[in-house]
Symmetry: C2
Subunit: 272 residues, 2 copies
Amino acid sequence: MTFINKLDAAWAANDSLLCVGLDPDMARLPAQFQSAPDGIYRFCTEIIDATADLACAFKPQIAYFAALGAEQQLERICAYLRDKHPHIPLILDSKRGDIGATAKQYAREAYDRYGADAVTVSPYMGSDSVEPYMEWRDRGVIVLCRTSNPGGSDLQFLEVNGRPLYQHVAQLVADKWNHNGQCALVVGATFPEELAQVRAIVGDMPLLVPGIGAQGGDVNATVTAGRTDSGKGMMINSSRAILYATAAAGEDFAQAARRVARETRDAINAAR
Amino acid sequence: MTFINKLDAAWAANDSLLCVGLDPDMARLPAQFQSAPDGIYRFCTEIIDATADLACAFKPQIAYFAALGAEQQLERICAYLRDKHPHIPLILDSKRGDIGATAKQYAREAYDRYGADAVTVSPYMGSDSVEPYMEWRDRGVIVLCRTSNPGGSDLQFLEVNGRPLYQHVAQLVADKWNHNGQCALVVGATFPEELAQVRAIVGDMPLLVPGIGAQGGDVNATVTAGRTDSGKGMMINSSRAILYATAAAGEDFAQAARRVARETRDAINAAR
């Protein structure tokens, strides 16, 4: 089964466009995990179990593991997800980008080592920095297009042939890089009108949409702008708002995560 | 001592603009290292010892370690370099790029975990994806500008306000991102006239120049185009041509690496 088919099935099975981001910031974990040698693994797998029936994908952010030297815990989290919730796509958020020979190594990292169904990549180095990932025909390649951060405009909003660079990237991916139907795009929720412009360029291509939750994007505007005609086509990511959802002392973090995940999924569905 | 000062001292001490890239491809290592559990560490440290008096920097490419789950060997290689050759700058080639909170984690990975003097980063996500690295005031941030691969033109050569995007990136880094004097740029050797245009924009800013050796860039044209008025200003990288230099059966790989490193350094110096 390809990444796109697996995503399509997860959208339907869980009636959800919610992607749960796994960004385990040690300073924000519940105390019992901060002191445990496998605390990150235990925290993330409890989050996964608490939200797996509400999500269309899980997305570990590798930087949080790399900063701590916790790659082996990430390997175990990915293996756990594939074993316990095999129908939920696993997206490795690593935003790699390098020349072909090096990209091949990064593809091995994402697909073979971590078993990811899809990986995020940067478009700055062009086609041959993305092509090696396509050799894994059943996996997905999610290309940065319009990012949700303030500095995203520095390059992405530069005018190229009468339109901003991010639209040029969307066109390039839709017309050329997606020749095997393996591509998706990252488009932030903080600019709904730009999300709509990308949707108009790329047809039914899936969009990974960060920026709701802690980053402040509006759910209704995001869904209206980014959905396909069938009301799907998006993986709307929330990380910190779900992982660190505990609102009162004594509230169980996993129950709190489930509560916010359900509220977010339902808010997304109300806008579909 | 800052990265820029350390680089300046290494240029002078070793009379060299050569950066030795560490891209340990398991399939190409001498047989005695392929079967050893710490084979990558042993191979890379022998290369380091064989070339340290000929180099102005070492640059491990993290993808080759990540594909194999060999981060601990990379940690040990970096520690060895800092211990045995503390005057040679260590550049972590990871080309990271992400939102501010995540970039902070990648900065910790590069500077605190691996002890790198500088790290390569992608400009696509803009200023706040680069700024967190600047908090480590004694370290360097090497921004992708014009890359040496064929697909580099896909985005970098797009026309923005009458000039290609890569020149816009060079200007942006020179005028804004380099406010603490911590920045350098990646500019490939495969396009010497473009290297000259970047040099004209950025003044004396150091340039990391991949693309000679296995990638085919011409040394004379590269040095003429990219040097500063003082005949320095460049870290000219060679990886595969040095690491896998053995020309005849039975030739020691480290001696072969030293031979090619010396030839490359001398060819660069002849063109200064």
